[in-house]
Amino acid sequence: MISTLGHMLILSALVASVFGSVTGLVSGARQNPKGTLWTQRAVYVFAWSMFLANFLMVYALLERDFSVSYVAQVGSHTTPTWVTVVSLWSSLEGSILFWGAIIGFYALIFTLKMRGRYAEYVPYALGVILFVCAFFSVLLAAPANPFAPTQGPIPLDGPGPNPLLQNHILMVIHPPMLYLGYVGMTIPFAIAVAALLRGKLTAGWLKPLRIWTMIPWACLTIGIVLGGWWAYEVLGWGGYWAWDPVENASFLPWLAATGYLHSTVVQERKRMLKVWTLSLVLAAFLLTILGTFMTRSGVFNSVHSFTQSPIGPIFLGFLAFLVVVCVVLLSLRSHLLVDEGKFEVVVSRESAFLLNNILFVVFTFTVLLGTIFPLVNEAIRGEQISVGEPYFDKMAVPIGMMLVFLMGVGPVLPWGRPDPSTVLKRFVFPFSVGLLTCSVCYGMGLRGWMTLATFGLCGFATVVTIWEMFSPTLERMQRRGESFSTALRLSILGGRRRFGGYIVHLGVIAIVVSIGASRSYRKTIEASLTPGQSFQLEEYTFVYEKTTMTKEPNRTSVRAAFNVYKEDSEVGVMVPGLNYYRTQREPIGTPHVKTVDGTDVYLSVLSVEPDGSRVGVKAFVFPLVFLLWWSLPIISLGSVIALWPKRRRTSSAEVIPA
């Protein structure tokens, strides 16, 4: 019953998306408003079919209807409700279904927002979006059909989703965030392709391109950081980023999109770099498809990858098709997208932006190279090799440091033709703050020149960023005699994007500092204890008290209680544990993390005797990890400010029906 209904919804989504992509592209070419109307209707049908299909699947999961193959695969009577709902995206077929709902959501909002505007481009954009939707609908209709009826006898109970996903509440928001980022890149892609198909890129069309890139970009950023948080809280080893192929898959589009967000500033201001900027948008989307392929083809080995499936070659074919289309479009249209602005001198704000773009592209290339290099090697030499964390760290650290450096240099450099001596003068203060940061850190006993240099660069970039954030306010106060609060409010309102962008920069600096500190100054200790015994790491003392065991329907969890002291004062009780799921031998840990004066004390159980008579633990000390999670509200705030819509009065002027 549910199977049939679900399959019908998928088919209706398929029909709507195929129909809409044809009408969209045709009416774009003919500039036919009637066709546009039909395309919009197709979007509504597609979106609602996908929403309903997703609701239906959630219903089937909650009802534990094992006659649906996907439910039989990931459902279980013993899992708690939230895990059951989350199971929607815990396995291959369901995740593609969820993908459909998200793209439906984006397409719906995009269509509604664009109604009656940009008539020249919108049908093309909708056509492209629906084309991508059609591909995923095809996947859902046959090779990855989540609604397929269960083969053979209907089981009474299922295995439940992967225990790793049942272990932490972050699994409720991390994957949707990542999906919002990933899937959302389809919209800027469609906008860019529409510009290429139309053969022109007016200032008016740049605005939706920017906004619709920023939204998924922000979601992707948050999703990636949340993924790190999840790993930190669940995997039990204090790691938050392992350069795993699937993590790289989410990082690659982020890098390209970040590059775009910077190059678009130059593009809008100087009317230059049109082809380049569009290429970055296209690349960001293509990389999301590559990432989806990497996660689902069974070609890459990863904690996060889904099981091997036959859809790999289909995905690769789709990706190849998209690449060919993009390349051909770019090469056919490049002569139409002429740069209007001119470069003036080598040392200017423009060139800082360009260098930043080169770095982002090199970064993307490096991560991609490292990720696929084992495949290259195996194809050529027939030998298996690995490319992992140490390689990526060696490559990413210098590139990252150069980017932080530019983060400080760029805003100081004026646009156009700056006067060298004025420029140099502007650097004096931030540079001395950077040096001061270095020496203070050195004075505090911190060593390791790379880490110190990173901190120095971060100090430098922070000063510049904060100065740039508030200089318009000061300017207003000085010239107009406004009070600080009025000046601040008006200057933020007048330069939302700029102000928000700098807040995001601060969030990124927080991440860099946190990574530098927690990797360079980590300390660990392993010990095996009986109740009453203690061990010491740095100034922290851990006293083992007792172990408790609780049986839950889907797992048995064991918690070991420790009293933790810093020097002689009590920090509190920490209760790390292990969870035994019936479907898996290796237990999954629940480490306990406490932030004490900016340093994370991280306690993880390695092994435990059932009666609690002996427990093996590993304790970690990670300085400044909390900054990594603090970057989340900072980056979110920055993005919201940058995206905050202007009042109608001003916005009406910007909507140039091109």
Partner: protein, 166 residues
């Protein structure tokens, strides 16, 4: 004066803590059989380079799997026996092949993975320079004009100023 008060408070805090310590000796039952590791330790550095065979692309130094733990123990033993970093790595390569190494040795085709990124960066910077050069308007014409529009360094600042001056 204020410093003095802070000092007094600190003294009080310290002494009260000392009293607490007297009540309950935390250190009487300290276990001595522990393994402490920092990024400076050879075992950690080697452990970061080796791939855990039962996990997924993770270094053994950062994996909770039992296998990874055994490998870490082995590294510590070998290190205690006086083996160098390279010898320890070689020990694992003999048993698990080059696969176990998380950063490919810079030899043969693997050179590519090491030199391509820097080459790409240099090419990028080169392209950037040639782009700027080709884009530059005839400098001679511009030289005598104002070197920069001193106040036009920022669109927004400029608009603030215009706003203010108007």
């Amino acid at each position: 004066m204020r410093i003095f008060i802070v000092g007094i408070t600190l003294l009080f805090v310290v002494s009260s803590n000392a009293a607490k310590r007297g009540e309950k000796d935390l250190f009487e039952n300290r276990v001595s059989d522990v393994v402490i590791e920092t990024p400076k330790d050879v075992s950690y550095q080697v452990g970061l380079l080796l791939r855990c065979p039962v996990c997924q692309g993770m270094p053994i130094a950062e994996s909770p799997a039992e296998m990874a733990q055994s490998m870490m123990t082995r590294i510590r033993e070998l290190h205690k026996e006086g083996k160098s970093k390279d010898e320890i790595i070689e020990y694992f390569i003999e048993r698990y092949g080059e696969w176990v190494l998380l950063e490919p040795k810079a030899e043969g085709i693997n050179w590519l993975v090491w030199i391509m990124p820097p080459i790409f960066l240099l090419v990028g910077i080169g392209a950037l320079f040639s782009y700027i050069k080709s884009n530059k308007p005839r400098a001679s014409r511009r030289l005598d004009s104002a070197i920069s529009e001193p106040d036009s360094d920022d669109e927004y600042l400029q608009s603030v100023r215009d706003d203010v001056l108007s």
